[in-house]
C-alpha cells in the first residue's frame, strides 16, 4: 500500500503524479472464504477492515452488487453526532464518534472529518423540553451537549433568523460541538484500501442472489451473479436491501424501505459554519467543503426501491430552510437524488446474530447510519468474529421486537439523520 504523506505527495509530484497505484486490488472471487460480507458500503467495508485488523482474520470477501459504496454511503448528508437520548443509543453512537476522531490517522486516509458542531433548534415548548432532556441525558453519559438561547444561536450561526415573528420561531437550540461532517466516499475508500492491503477481497458488480444452507440449517455460502461462493459465516450489511437478502434465508425483518432524498445548491463562498437541524419543521443543512449547501429532505411515505422519491418532499424542506435562513432564498439548487433507507419501527438499528447459525445482520440504520459507519463496522466485526455481540450492541437485536425492549429513538427525536 502506498502511504500518503507530504513526502509521498512531493515525490509523486516529481513524477508528474504518474506513479500512483490503484487503492485496492480488483479481484475475481475465490471458491471459498471464511467470511463473506454482503454489501460494499461503508458499514460492510469497515466490518471487513476490523475483522482483519482487530480479529486477525484474513480470508474475507466483501461482495457488492454495484460499484463500491454507491448506495446510501454515496447519497447521505454526512451528519455525524452522538447526542441521542437513550443510554443504549448514545453509547453506540458515541463509540462511533470516538472512532471518527482518529479515523484519518488510523487509515492513513483523509476522511475530512470536520467537527463544526451540530445545532438542533427548538421551535415549541415541547421541543425545548425534549432537547433540554437530551442535553442532560447526554451530559450524564459524558457526552457533550449544551443549551443555547436564541441570541447564542444567532452568534454561533449568523445566517439563522431568530425573529420571534416567523411561523416557527427559534426558541433555542442544543449544540453538540464535537459533531460534524465527513467526506462520504473517503470513509468507504479508506476502509477498502486498508482492508484490501490486509488481504480482504473486494468484489464489485457481483450481486448476491441466494444464501445456501446445510441440512442442519447453518449457512454454507452464497449464490451470486458471478457463481456460487462458499463461506462459513455471512454478514449482511445491505441497507435498503436487507429484507431482500435476509429473505433469502427465510428471515423476516421489522423493516420498511423508503426513499430518502437530499439536494445541493450551487457552490458559494463559506457562509454556513455548522450543521443545523430542525425536527419540528423538518430541515437540516450544512455547507460542503466545495461550497454547496447540502440539504436533507424527509422520507417518502411508501415502500420503494427506486432511489427517486417525489419532488414535493424536498420542496417542503426548502420552504423550511428559506424561512430559517432567508438569505438562501435566491440560491439555485443544482442536484437532487434519493437513497433507499431501511427503517425500523423504533428508528434504532439492528447489529446482531440471526436465528440462522453463521448468518449475521447489520441493518435498520435507516436515515441515520452514516455517523455510525466506523462504530457499526467495528461492533459488527466483533459480533461475527466472536459469534456474540459486544456489550454496546447487545441491546440492538431482532428479538427486541418480540420481547418489547424497543429503543424508541423514534419517539425521542422524530428525525434521525
Amino acid at each position: 500500500m502506498q502511504k500518503f504523506s507530504a513526502f509521498s505527495l512531493f515525490r509523486q509530484a516529481l513524477g508528474a503524479h504518474q506513479g500512483w497505484k490503484p487503492q485496492w486490488r480488483s479481484v475475481k472471487p475465490k471458491a471459498a472464504y471464511d467470511i463473506i460480507i454482503v454489501g460494499g458500503g461503508g458499514h460492510g467495508l469497515g466490518a471487513a477492515y476490523y475483522l482483519a485488523k482487530q480479529h486477525g482474520l484474513r480470508n474475507i470477501a466483501v461482495v457488492e452488487r454495484g460499484w463500491l459504496a454507491g448506495g446510501n454511503t454515496a447519497r447521505n448528508t454526512t451528519i455525524i453526532r452522538s447526542n441521542y437520548l437513550f443510554d443504549e443509543s448514545s453509547s453506540y453512537y458515541e463509540h462511533s464518534l470516538k472512532l471518527w476522531e482518529g479515523l484519518s490517522q488510523e487509515l492513513n486516509y483523509n476522511v475530512m472529518f470536520s467537527q463544526r458542531g451540530c445545532l438542533m433548534i427548538a421551535h415549541t415548548v415541547h421541543d425545548v423540553q425534549v432537547f433540554k432532556r437530551h442535553v442532560h441525558a447526554n451530559r450524564l453519559n459524558g457526552i457533550d451537549n449544551e443549551w443555547l438561547t436564541p441570541q447564542e444561536v444567532k452568534e454561533f450561526c449568523p445566517p439563522l433568523n431568530i425573529s420571534p415573528n416567523i411561523r416557527y420561531p427559534i426558541l433555542g437550540g442544543a449544540l453538540q460541538r464535537r459533531a460534524g461532517t465527513a467526506r462520504h466516499d473517503a470513509v468507504a475508500w479508506g476502509f477498502a484500501r486498508a482492508a484490501s492491503d490486509m488481504g480482504v477481497d473486494i468484489i464489485e458488480n457481483c450481486e448476491v442472489t441466494g444464501i445456501t444452507r446445510a441440512p442442519s440449517g447453518e449457512v454454507t455460502g452464497v449464490e451470486t451473479t458471478l457463481g456460487p461462493i462458499k463461506a462459513r459465516k455471512i454478514g449482511v450489511s445491505a441497507a435498503g436491501h436487507s429484507s431482500v437478502v435476509l429473505g433469502m434465508a427465510g428471515i423476516r425483518l421489522p423493516l420498511q424501505s423508503n426513499p430518502l432524498q437530499a439536494l445541493v445548491s450551487e457552490p458559494v463562498k463559506p457562509a454556513f459554519p455548522t450543521i443545523v437541524m430542525s425536527n419540528t419543521i423538518h430541515a437540516y443543512i450544512s455547507q460542503s467543503d466545495k461550497g454547496e449547501m447540502v440539504i436533507g429532505a424527509g422520507t417518502d411515505s411508501y415502500v420503494s426501491y427506486t432511489q427517486r422519491g417525489g419532488l414535493h418532499i424536498p420542496a417542503h424542506t426548502l420552504e423550511a430552510i428559506t424561512e430559517l435562513c432567508p438569505m438562501f432564498r435566491r440560491l439555485r439548487m443544482m442536484r437532487s437524488w434519493g437513497g433507499i433507507t431501511d427503517n425500523t419501527p423504533d428508528r434504532s438499528p439492528i447489529t446482531a446474530k440471526t436465528s440462522v447459525p453463521g448468518l449475521y445482520v447489520n441493518c435498520g440504520w435507516g436515515t441515520g447510519g452514516f455517523k455510525a459507519t466506523p462504530g457499526a463496522a467495528n461492533l459488527f466485526a466483533w459480533t461475527i468474529a466472536k459469534d456474540e455481540p459486544h456489550p454496546i450492541n447487545a441491546p440492538f437485536t431482532i428479538e427486541r421486537f418480540r420481547d418489547g425492549t424497543l429503543i424508541d429513538e423514534a419517539a425521542a427525536a422524530a428525525v434521525a439523520h
Binding site: 436491501h241 429484507s243 431482500v244 423476516r252 425483518l253 421489522p254 423493516l255 420498511q256 424501505s257 411515505s301 411508501y302 415502500v303 420503494s304 426501491y305 427506486t306 427517486r308 417525489g310 419532488l311 414535493h312 419501527p345 421486537f401 418480540r402 420481547d403 418489547g404
Partner: protein, 101 residues
C-alpha cells in the same frame, strides 16, 4: 410524484394521499392466545418486497376513504387500486410485466 387512482374519486396527485403501509395484515382474531412471536410478526415484521406490494392508501385530502393498491416497488408503477375488504387481486403476467417496466 405519484399519480394515484382513488377508486371513488379518480386520479389525483400524491400530495392528496397518506400511505398506510402493507395491506391485508389481519388483526388477530383472538389476541389473548397470541404468543410474543406472533405479536411481533403482526406488529412489526413486514415483507418489504422488492417487486409487487399490496398497500393501503387513504385519500386524506379528498373523500377521506381508505383503499388498497398493487404497485411495483422497483418502478413505482401501479397495477391497480381496489376497494377495502376485497382480497388481493390476481395479477396477469402482462400486468406484472407492464408494472415492472
Amino acid at each position: 410524484m405519484l399519480l394515484i387512482k382513488c377508486p371513488y374519486c379518480g386520479e389525483r396527485a400524491e400530495v392528496e394521499f397518506a400511505n398506510g403501509g402493507e395491506a391485508h395484515i389481519a388483526r388477530p382474531a383472538d389476541p389473548m392466545t397470541l404468543s410474543d412471536e406472533e405479536w411481533a410478526q403482526y406488529l412489526y415484521m413486514r415483507d418489504n418486497p422488492k417487486g409487487l406490494i399490496a398497500e393501503r392508501w387513504r385519500h386524506a385530502h379528498g373523500c377521506g376513504r381508505f383503499f388498497n393498491a398493487l404497485r411495483d416497488t422497483r418502478t413505482d408503477r401501479f397495477v391497480m387500486t381496489y376497494e377495502m375488504g376485497q382480497p388481493r387481486p390476481d395479477v396477469t403476467p402482462e400486468q406484472a410485466a407492464e408494472a415492472a417496466r
